[in-house]
Amino acid sequence: MKWGVVTFPGSLDDRDALYALRDVLEQDAEPLWHKDRDLRKADCVVLPGGFSYGDYLRCGAMARFSPVMESVVDFARRGGLVLGICNGFQILCEAHLLPGALTRNRSLSFICEPVTVRVENVNTPFTCAAQPGQRLRLPIKHGEGLYVAPEDELRRMEDRGQVLVRYVDRNGNPADAANPNGSMHSIAGVANETFNVFGLMPHPEHAVEPMLGGGGGLTIFRSIIQSLA
């Protein structure tokens, strides 16, 4: 399979995503430029973290209208796999490829710390290598990660299993104290209705080596590889 990692002006984690894919997972991964419409035959497109277009107006609001996003939207509508991490998640929500929105953390502080998330649905291309209820230790680093969606929409998403990862405490419970940013339903990441688009605030690309804090992120990337094998 082939990966494409998009770089927007202001992206920060594009290199780390390429490193995780190429150097750690030995994948064929290519950088994609925000002005390019060509996705270079990627089977999975990664929208990385950072502050695309300075996060002006709203996080992800400007990136949504970049040329590459037109192709990403077409690609997703045709069933292509899209993974949005942090700012990438915000962009996917702004582009209406994912429901809901991400707003300012309830603490109003930028948070940079490791969190534990629980995998809620393993029947998706992004989580199929995980065990049901498996806990992953991943870092977060964001100021606007509070996930919001209308209550009725949230209920439908929960029923369909679109909430793929949720913040939990040491015992695996989605306690309020373990919710770093105040997200509704302790949501850390959601998929679309057809489960080919996934966005999450934690950074799997920063958790791929045991020497550097653990390999929790590998489960996400390996799931994608497994689903396309």
């Binding site: 107006l57 609001a61 209208f65 509070l146 209308p150």
Partner: protein
């Protein structure tokens, strides 16, 4: 024509900034303060033949880019020349 856009968090959407301002005002002794909501204010110059045309155009801008309908409401005001 000058057009003003007021963007506010939708009712029911958590507004931590508004809440922080509310707490600060209370701690300054403004006990009469109720709920505070914080939003954005945008001023635009728009070439249009009438106020209606300008308002319609800016509403389209709000729907496409300026506001996110999942979390925000907006109000458009056209200034008389």
């Amino acid at each position: 024509m000058q057009v003003k856009v007021f963007i506010t968090p939708k009712k029911g959407v958590l507004d931590p900034q508004g809440r922080a301002i509310e707490h600060s005002l209370r701690s300054l002794g403004f006990d009469n303060v109720g709920q505070v909501r914080m939003g954005k204010y945008i001023e635009l110059d728009v070439a249009a033949a009438s106020s209606d045309e300008a308002a319609g155009e800016v509403k389209r801008m709000c729907d496409r880019l300026l506001a996110n309908s999942v979390i925000e409401d907006y109000r458009v005001e056209v200034e008389r020349a």
